[in-house]
Subunit: 172 residues, 2 copies
Amino acid sequence: MIYSIITNSMKSITLDETDLHLLDALQRDASQSNQALAERFHISPPTCLRRVRRLREGGWIAAEVALVDPAHAGPLLTAVVEVSLDRQDADSLAAFEQRVVPDEAVQQCYRVSPGPDFVLIVTVGDMAGYQALAQRLFTSDANVRNVKAFFSLARAKFSTRLPLAGLVAPPG
Amino acid sequence: MIYSIITNSMKSITLDETDLHLLDALQRDASQSNQALAERFHISPPTCLRRVRRLREGGWIAAEVALVDPAHAGPLLTAVVEVSLDRQDADSLAAFEQRVVPDEAVQQCYRVSPGPDFVLIVTVGDMAGYQALAQRLFTSDANVRNVKAFFSLARAKFSTRLPLAGLVAPPG
DNA sequence: GCTGAAATCACACATTA
DNA sequence: TAATGTGTGATTTCAGC
């Protein structure tokens, strides 16, 4: 009994080369049909479906989303914001994080080192929107020591595709 | 004749409230079935299909992709990199951009102001991978004046969902 | 917006390594 | 024993009206 559980969990955390190919293909285009994927990687449709399902349920695929072209979504203002805090203990960092993350304008939030404590990517409608954001997220927080904002003139690249090369388990 | 063309192009560049709801829903989850979307927004499945198709072909939806959880994709190192150039004329900026954008490790590239000329989000396997990237993208470029890298300790948020509020055309 | 055909998906079963 | 491949029914997609 114990052994089968162990064996199962072992298998569910291992990806072979085909899984990685599927993952990479879906990273590029998740709208492909199951059988298109299947014949591309020389497996049967049900097998392909099972594998993709395992990638989803196993947590490798966190979500499948539509990427909206910002150029078509009306005027938007994106900024890279560096935030430094006064106190940098774990609680203070977590408190800041939990306050900014739910904000709709905050697209990305990285806790970084060295340099500032956080780097945020924020998207608002215009400069007035940024001013409102700065007020509600930074100015009103006594623990925020310094804020530097760099405004995006052009987004030359935005890719969500993680490089999966080198993750291929050695075929055995 | 002319009028119908104008009317058509008018229609194809305008989104009503339902379109925006669909766009927002697909930004959150693109794996929803067409009829699930249809009944959610009280329209018929064919109508829903036509609208989504228009969003795709009209360019609002740039792509549909699977987002891979970095925590499940093995050890990865993400960095926020600020790059300042020596010469900042249009040609030099474009030249740098065209050189870094094709690199697989470069996830995002923003041309910004004020501060550095570019902010990049890069993802590599480990510190050795970063060193290799720095060499091939920055050190080897005589026009790169300064590079500051902040390494991500934690990615607290990564959302691809643009805020579409306020884009609703006034119903008329 | 509705109804049709066509394609796809999802499942149970038999098979093989 | 656990994965793969074949076949069936249900669902969905997509065309016409």
